[in-house]
């Protein structure tokens, strides 16, 4: 460290433009604004066919018969396939548990389950042919909640479970159960001066990415297939696809096509296997694109949940204990349910220090739509409930809700209920202080000299109020999200980095299999390479399976893990380049042998800033390339009885303040402002960081006031599979979102960064609910909140 005011060490990358910490612009930005960026639904191939999936019209039924004759006879149809046409003994897939049939066999377990697939020369021909397939169903009673799932005579959703959770679940219709038990809740309860209890309901949210599930499968001459696909994890797809096709993994080539958003909804397979099957069957390229209706059936959703909480505190506002029972509805297939249970339970008390905890989380098998990953992943549902509890507790204690949270806020060193110490900064109280200190939006901002601007009032241009009956409310919330895959998962990424001279300039090429889904990974990958290798020109190679796995674009992990892998590979490349330089030029200057050398601005420089050589001269005609896997610190599974264990890698914290105005007569809500403060460790690209925080915040807003997949409890059928009936926030529904970014380094992570994408989705929802409660005085124990909940009509 410089101690005399004279810098003795130049920060790496300081001489190279476009490195980390700068708001460099997206490398794919121009293609995306000109319409040239090729999304998976834009793929095209000469002679290609269109695939269509026939889905079940009922939620739970035995399949008596399937008649495909008429569909097959339709002019323009090339293939119709059912379960009987699957080529190998492997007929199921799944992220963790292979319980999902590629095509239904004997039984359908949820509304919209794939039953048959068709390939035809026009998408409409394929649709009409699929409609001609006759499926005779014998309907079964539907299981839709915990009571029906665990009833003594309940039909088992999966009769022959042999997965590794079946041994510890209390009922075969429970996917996974995780208790977290710490301290002595009974004794702690005796010390409580105040106890509050609540029963909370979280609705089923859809990821609603705009780019529909789609891809193009092209049969290859060697009997393999090349799939161009929008996904979150190429290698996870590959591992599930290849065995069903009966092909070795090297004959299933996968290239990432443009991805129109993901948010967890592309962790599971959708049309991947179906397109490959049809391509291999017909010998022609096959494209499948879901429409929005089908997309609602074609991917898993966020688990709806019932959460029962009990919080106790002493009169001075110190938490004594938390008891919770969290029931997540996993729907018909497991998907990511076990890991969602792990998150909901281990993060179930939130970012607070509590010694005595008793939590149980389970995920059910039901006939409802399958649920799995969505941004926030189990931590979202818990945050909605524990933050409502904190407000309830504050009211009962007569303590300011922010003050109560700050008194109990975890800090670095605090133990989670799992017994794991939080070993990096945990600025929970500080984030609350910051978000509270942000200026408040002016009152009655809808007033103008020409009367009320109804566009800024609840109800908007429906012109339902000019301010009468409108009440403002303010609410706060804070949350904790784990970063990276937890519970002992081997969570690695692979990066291949190459450096060579192209056109007289040193160029780095970064090749990973990371799925760019919009988050801006490609932007920061180039920044990392510039910082580490001191070059300006960085080429991001398209993501494919010709390089090792990058892991999933989920769990806020890619900048950490694939970013870490790139940093590591760059460091190895740098060593090789310097070695090359020492060999070629070492005799010209003693610093080659003795000084610490850096790559900056296209040159080799000493740590004192002296230029030794131009990279162009060092490299000459040689290319230096490294491919290497990189891992974050290992985690361990939670104990199945106590939930104890060092299960997590890193945490991400965000706090929100919501300001809402409610038309209390009509129950209409206008969110005026949703301020956020978040610790990001280190903002590699500040512009992208703010964009992630605002986007995550808005998805939290959506599930607070509008977004819910409605499933008929009598039939388990989805009632609103369209953007007409499933509403996501428009630009009119979305308020200004001022963001205060805190950067407290996590010394265990590359550059001190934190995964950032999910935390803002957690606290946004409870903050909005708290603000609506403040405006209306209503208890509001469910989300999303609808007008009838605010007017007393329901």
């Amino acid at each position: 460290m410089p101690t005399n005011g004279v810098p003795t060490k130049i920060t790496q990358g300081s001489g190279t433009k476009g490195g980390i910490g700068e708001s460099t612009l997206r490398p794919d930005g121009t293609l995306k604004v000109t319409g040239e960026f090729a999304y998976s639904s834009d793929m095209w191939h000469e002679d290609m066919l269109w695939g269509q999936i026939l889905r079940s019209t009922v939620a739970h039924a035995e399949i008596v018969s399937i008649d495909t004759a008429e569909a097959l006879a339709t002019p323009g149809v090339y293939a119709v396939m059912t379960y009987d046409d699957l080529p190998t003994e492997v007929k199921h897939y799944g992220l963790e548990i292979r319980d999902t049939p590629v095509l239904a066999h004997g039984k359908v377990r949820h509304h919209g389950e794939p039953v048959a697939i068709v390939a035809a020369d026009h998408p409409e021909t394929a649709r009409r042919a699929a409609a001609k397939i006759k499926v005779d169903y014998r309907e079964l009673p539907v299981i839709t909640d915990e009571a029906s799932a665990t009833a003594p005579d309940a039909i088992l959703i999966h009769e022959d479970r042999d997965d590794h959770h079946i041994g510890h679940v209390p009922h075969p219709n429970i996917v996974h159960r995780q208790p977290i038990v710490r301290g002595d809740v009974a004794a702690a309860r005796e010390r409580a001066d105040v106890i509050v209890e609540g029963e909370y309901t979280f609705g089923m949210q859809d990821q609603a990415f705009l780019g529909p599930e789609s891809g193009l499968a092209v049969p290859e001459e060697d009997g393999g297939v090349h799939l161009y696909i929008a996904t979150q994890w190429l290698h996870s797809d590959l591992r599930q696809i290849a065995p069903v096709l009966g092909l070795p993994e090297d004959k299933v080539r996968m290239t990432l096509a443009g991805v129109g958003g993901a948010f967890g909804g592309r962790e599971d397979l959708s049309m991947q296997i179906h397109a490959c099957l049809l391509a291999l069957r017909t010998g022609k390229p096959v494209k499948i694109v879901y429409n929005r209706f089908e997309s609602f059936f074609g991917h898993v959703h966020r688990h709806p949940a019932k959460l029962h909480y009990e919080h106790g505190a002493t009169a001075d506002g110190r938490l004594t204990h938390v008891r919770a029972r969290i029931v997540l509805d996993g729907g018909a297939y497991a998907s990511a349910s076990p890991a969602v249970v792990g998150n909901a339970s281990s993060l179930g008390v939130g970012p607070y220090a509590v010694d005595d905890v008793d939590i149980e989380a389970i995920a059910l098998y039901t006939n409802n739509p399958p649920c799995g990953a969505m941004r926030g992943f189990g931590a979202v549902q818990a945050c909605f409930a524990y933050e409502a509890q904190m407000d309830k507790l504050a009211a009962k204690l007569g303590i300011d809700p922010v003050e109560l949270r700050q008194r109990n806020a975890m800090e670095q060193g605090t133990l989670l209920p799992t017994g794991q110490p939080v070993d990096s900064p945990a600025p929970v109280a500080e984030l609350l202080r910051r978000v509270k200190a942000m200026p408040m939006p002016p009152e009655r901002q809808w007033e103008s000299s020409e009367g009320a601007d109804v566009r800024q009032l609840p109800g908007g241009l429906s012109n339902t109020t000019h301010g009468e009956g409108v009440v403002r409310g303010v609410g706060y919330a804070v949350g904790i999200k784990n970063v990276g895959f937890s519970e002992g998962f081997d969570d690695y990424s692979t990066a291949r980095v190459r450096m060579e001279v192209v056109g007289g300039e040193p160029v780095a090429t970064v090749h990973t299999a990371m799925a760019e889904v919009g988050q801006g990974g490609v932007t920061v990958h180039a920044q990392i390479a510039r910082t580490e290798l001191g070059v300006t020109q960085v080429t991001i190679h398209p993501a494919d399976t010709r390089v090792g796995s990058a892991g999933s674009t989920s769990a806020s992990r890619q900048t950490y893990v694939t970013g870490g892998a790139i940093k590591n590979a760059c460091e190895l490349v740098r060593e090789k380049v310097l070695e090359l330089g020492r060999r070629k030029l070492g005799s010209y200057h003693p610093a080659w042998a003795h000084a610490e050398l850096l790559l900056e601005g296209g040159k080799v420089v000493t740590d004192a800033g002296e230029v030794l050589a131009d990279l162009v001269d060092v490299l000459g005609d040689e290319a230096v390339e490294v491919e290497e896997e990189w891992r974050h610190r290992a985690t361990e599974p939670f104990d199945l009885r106590t939930g104890q264990g060092n299960g997590h890698v890193q945490y991400s914290f965000a706090a929100h303040r919501a300001v809402v105005e409610v038309d209390t007569e009509l129950g209409l809500v206008k969110v005026i402002e949703l301020a956020c403060a978040q610790d990001v460790g280190k903002a590699l690209n500040p512009l992208s960081v703010v964009g992630q925080i605002q986007g995550g915040t808005t998805q939290g807003l959506g599930v607070a006031v509008m977004e819910e997949i409605l499933v008929d409890p009598k039939t388990a059928k989805v009632r609103n599979p369209s953007f007409t009936d499933y509403l996501i926030p428009t630009i009119l529904d979305t308020p200004t979102i001022p963001v205060d970014v805190l950067e407290l380094a996590d010394d265990h992570a590359p550059y001190g960064l934190r995964g950032i994408g999910e935390a803002p989705t957690l606290s946004s929802t409870p903050a909005v609910l708290a603000a609506i409660r403040a405006a209306t005085g209503r208890e509001l124990n469910r989300t999303p909140v609808r007008p009838e909940h605010l007017t007393g009509a329901s």
Binding site: S23, L25, R26, P27, D28, G29, T30, L31, K32, V33, T34, G35, E36, F37, Y39, S41, D42, W44, E124, Q207, A208, F209, L210, G211, P212, G258, V259, G260, G261, A262, N291, R292, D453, R455, L461, V517, G518, Q519, G520, T539, L687, V690, G691, Q694, G695, G696, T697, T698, Q699, S722, F723, T724, I728, P729, T730, I731, L732, T734, T736, I737
Partner: protein, 191 residues
Amino acid sequence: MRVNFTVNGRPQQADDVWEGESLLYVLRERLGLPGSKNACEQGECGSCTVRLDGVPVCSCLVAAGQAEGREVVTVEGLADHARQRACGTGGTCGTSLDEAKGWTADGTDSQTGEGAELSPVQQAFIDAGAVQCGFCTPGLLVAADEMLERNPNPSDADIREALSGNLCRCTGYEKIMDAVRLAAARQSEGV
């Protein structure tokens, strides 16, 4: 059936169009212009927004036959459209008919599209960070450009109203607001 219409200043003809095909389908699948996106096929998301005789429409809701004889501007033609507007009717830098006929979406020679000539609103979307996954971007650009044509100095409420038919799931709209404000400011400065 055969459909004749003008796309981005260039006469186009599509053959063997099935009567049920939308303008969006014909643009994407028959004319090789996939810039307009299909995200809901029922006029809720705005991803397929194009201008039909100047008016922004959801091209998924326009039967291809309805476009017969009319003028369509898509995201691929937005830069040219903006340039012609900037030059005005009596200008000296207009695009000749021959140039218009020779129009192509490729203004680039690199992987990243650098060097492409962009309209002010396109550039502003990049500069302001308004593009994440980008699937909503083409529709938003066409809608925003049309609003700025009508209303060069929009208030925030004006921008929100004009773009309320375009869903974005990634950005939370804040950077989109920034981008449109930036485009308006640059436009008024004549940049």
